[in-house]
């Protein structure tokens, strides 16, 4: 096995080498997308279940595309009309799915720990597609991949994450992955959205947006969940935009090379102004493209794929579908 675990639960669990291995494989898969036929037969005959207990459109489509481009057979489990709603436990549902003989399960769940739990009780490989506010490792990997495409080695680079850090699985996965690669991470947001203990995960806390962006190489802007307003966590969108919204004015305080990322979906003119979202500094759609490549790499490696087969100019393992 190239990766030590049969599952991908979080970037906290991966070594620096494992992260780099996944990213290299992702770069190899990324090259396929520019060909007329974007499909390889690597996962032919294998079954992957997309088990989305919490609604998600983008992540599910990204995984589904990754699986299809690897020629896997796919089942999409729609939780909204599932037996989980009829009182069945997560374990029972998952064991039932496994009993139908599947190779891999991609899980999105609102509860932190759900993916790790399934990893423990199931023999199939489990990929965490987001478990509550805990981790979203493939998002972290695609963010890092996008940063490396622009910056090369991330050692010593400065990444500023802006938004609702407390509720963000993206922030946690970014912090774990980036610090393992030697980057310095600053988190910024209203004090009610930045828990004090986040510093102990390896990030620097800065509540002043202009100071937080001053030497940054990248801004990673998180989505503000509008329902948090009803929990009194912040006064409202207008106030948030005034204090923490990334606008062209804010970008004037950054280095000229600093670029902007967002995991989507965006609330335009709340956490990011439309001018920035559509401007020359953003790489948001590159993130989306890289997302498919990263997910192909993770699926490939977890199913026992050898990254050396993908390496070099020939990229022997990445043959086009005949």
């Amino acid at each position: 096995m190239i990766l030590r675990s049969k599952d991908l639960i979080g970037l906290e669990d991966l070594s620096r080498e494992e992260i780099l291995t996944i990213l290299e494989a992702a770069e190899a898969f990324r090259t396929i997308f520019d060909r007329p036929v974007r499909k390889v037969p690597i996962m032919r005959g294998r079954t992957v279940v997309n088990f989305f207990v919490e609604p998600s459109t983008r992540t599910r489509i990204s995984f589904e595309l990754a699986e299809k481009r690897l020629s896997a057979d796919i089942v999409n489990f729609d939780a909204s009309n599932s037996s989980l709603k009829k009182g069945e436990t997560l374990r029972d549902t998952a064991e039932n799915i496994q009993a139908m003989k599947i190779d891999m399960i991609v899980v999105r769940h609102s509860s932190p720990g759900a993916a790790a739990y399934l990893g423990r009780v199931l023999k199939a490989s489990v990929i965490n597609a987001g478990d509550g506010a805990h981790e979203h490792p493939t998002q972290g990997l695609l963010d890092i991949m996008t940063m490396r495409q622009r910056l090369g080695d991330l050692a010593g680079r400065k990444v500023t994450i802006i938004g609702d850090i407390a509720q963000s699985r993206v922030a946690r996965s970014n912090i774990y992955g980036l610090t393992k690669l030697g980057a310095e991470v600053t988190v910024c947001g209203p004090p009610t959205m930045v828990p004090a203990a986040i510093a102990r995960l390896g990030a620097t806390v800065e509540h002043d947006l202009k100071r937080a962006v001053a030497d940054a190489d990248v801004l990673n802007i998180l989505r503000i969940q509008l329902e948090r307003q009803s929990q009194m966590v912040f006064p409202g969108n207008r106030e948030y935009h005034l204090m923490f919204g990334v606008t062209e004015e804010v970008l004037r305080h950054t280095k000229p090379s600093c670029f902007v990322m967002h995991p989507g979906p965006m609330n335009r003119d709340v956490e990011i102004s439309s001018a920035v979202a559509d401007g020359p500094r953003q790489v948001i759609l590159e993130q989306v493209t890289n997302g498919v490549a990263v997910r192909m790499a993770v699926i490939y490696l977890l199913s026992g794929g050898d990254p050396r087969q993908l390496g070099g100019g020939a990229r022997a393992g990445v043959r086009e579908e005949e």
Binding site: T89, L90, R91, H109, S110, S111, P112, G113, A114, A116, Y117, D131, G132, A133, H134, E135, A166, R169, R172, P195, A196, A197, I198, R200, L201, Q231
Partner: protein
């Protein structure tokens, strides 16, 4: 005469035991003379009566039956978790001869017939003295007072909306005023719900790391502070359930120094486990209040040692295996504790030198009983023959499947403990024997 476990005589001697009473463990062997369920005599040396059957204690510790002032027996309404019968069995296996039950059954204990029902069921079971508390508010809804006088007449020993904090300050004030006249405590489950929010574990490093919503210490501290001030103003007796924070210990310490009538309990798990236990998302470590930090463990331990916290109480809260298979944020709060309490405290407090066994036993028996004014918890001439035999040296490993409780949700599964209850007696009759 020969001793036989099969036919327990009305009068017998327990010899060759180290008596534990009034906070002290005797260093010399002694005896206990039981007659018709009462203690006829006890003391050092060998008994003088040779005509009586003798149970050879083999050098074990003989202590008063333990008293747990905070248990949930779930009956009526949630008999899939526990019943008064299975809860009593678990109590006996843990060395307990008396428990105070919480009123959050379904329906809650909010009128006198409910109290009488619990007492009747406990009587039928006959393994443990059961003292019910009643709800402060009807339906535990925090709006109108229950019939305090009628409930006390029926046998309620105190009032609490345990599990649901009383958010309404005036209601809590009235409860303390009423209870004062009736001579019973009002117990607070101290948790400001607006500060607690959707929290499921202690707010700190681990909740941040795991992405689980936090329960801040403040949610407990500000409620304890409010209730202490209400107790001061009314002269009522406030009992603070399951103290978990260093702040609460300080508030209670100051209030007691100033003469406010406050008593308090602490659970074995808050004395021994911290929030890092939640690292694998196991709901076996989910309880309310939550497991806190090392400095809180130190503060509650010191509070217990100093007597600021009167007693150990388990907050025995059975839940089915299925419920504890849920995800951490969805699983119910609570752990079972009756069968491990003495060994856990003995291992973590006595073996480490924080308390001696005599002091621990006192805090788990007579001091506990005093908080609710219960007529038990002492081993004395003329008193009830409620006692246990304890081997402080025997080591054992907690096996959840071997518990006598109907539920298995212990946070100590697999842990090796020092000290084992060998037998428990209620009114002179055995309610538990190790290995039976």
């Amino acid at each position: 005469m020969e001793w036989s476990w099969k036919r327990i005589p009305a009068e017998y001697l327990v010899a060759n035991v180290r008596l534990c009473r009034d906070g002290k463990l005797a260093d010399r062997p002694g005896f206990l003379h039981v007659q018709k369920g009462l203690v006829a005599a006890l003391g050092p040396g060998a008994p003088s009566r040779e005509d009586l059957p003798v149970l050879d204690g083999g050098g074990l510790v003989c202590a008063p039956g333990l008293v747990d002032v905070h248990v949930h027996f779930r009956e009526p309404g949630q008999e899939e978790k526990e019943t008064i019968a299975t809860g009593s069995r678990a109590a006996a296996a843990g060395g307990f001869t008396a428990v105070v039950t919480m009123p959050n059954t379904r329906p809650p204990v909010d009128h006198a017939p409910m109290v009488r029902y619990i007492l009747d069921r406990a009587q039928e079971t006959g393994l443990c003295r059961v003292f019910p508390t009643a709800a402060i508010s009807r339906g535990q809804e925090g709006e109108t007072l229950t019939e305090f006088g009628d409930l006390v007449k029926a046998g309620a020993v105190g009032f609490t909306d345990d599990g649901r904090p009383v958010m309404h300050g005036k209601l809590m004030q009235f409860a303390l005023q009423y209870a004062r006249v009736l001579g019973v405590p009002v117990t607070c489950h101290a948790e400001d719900l607006t500060l607690a929010g959707k929290g499921v574990m202690h707010a700190g490093y681990w909740s941040t790391k795991l992405g689980l919503a936090g329960l801040p210490r403040l949610a407990e501290d500000v409620m304890v502070f409010r209730d202490v001030e209400l107790a001061r103003a009314t002269g009522g007796h406030l009992h603070v359930a399951h103290v978990s924070t260093k702040g609460t210990v300080e508030i209670i310490r100051r209030a007691r120094e100033q003469g406010v009538h406050v008593t308090a309990e602490v659970t074995p798990h808050h004395l021994t486990l911290d929030h890092s236990c939640c690292r694998d998302f196991s709901p076996l470590y989910k309880m309310s209040p939550p497991l806190r930090e090392q400095e809180d463990i130190e503060a509650v331990t010191q509070g217990l040692v100093d007597g600021v916290l009167d007693c150990v109480a388990t907050d025995h809260a059975p839940h089915t295996a299925m419920e504890k298979e849920l995800m951490f944020d969805q699983a119910p709060f609570g752990v079972v504790g009756l069968e491990t309490a003495l060994a856990v405290c003995h291992t973590h407090l006595v073996k480490t030198g924080r308390l001696d066994l005599g002091q621990l036993v006192e805090k788990m028996s007579s001091r506990a009983a005093e908080t609710y004014g219960l007529p038990c918890g002492r081993l004395e001439e003329g008193g009830e023959a409620d006692f246990l035999l304890f081997d402080p040296d025997e080591e054992w490993t907690v096996q959840p499947e071997a518990l006598r409780s109907m539920s298995r949700n212990t946070p100590y599964g697999g842990q090796k403990l020092a000290g084992r209850v060998k037998a428990t007696f209620l009114r002179g009759r055995p309610t538990y024997r190790d290995g039976e």
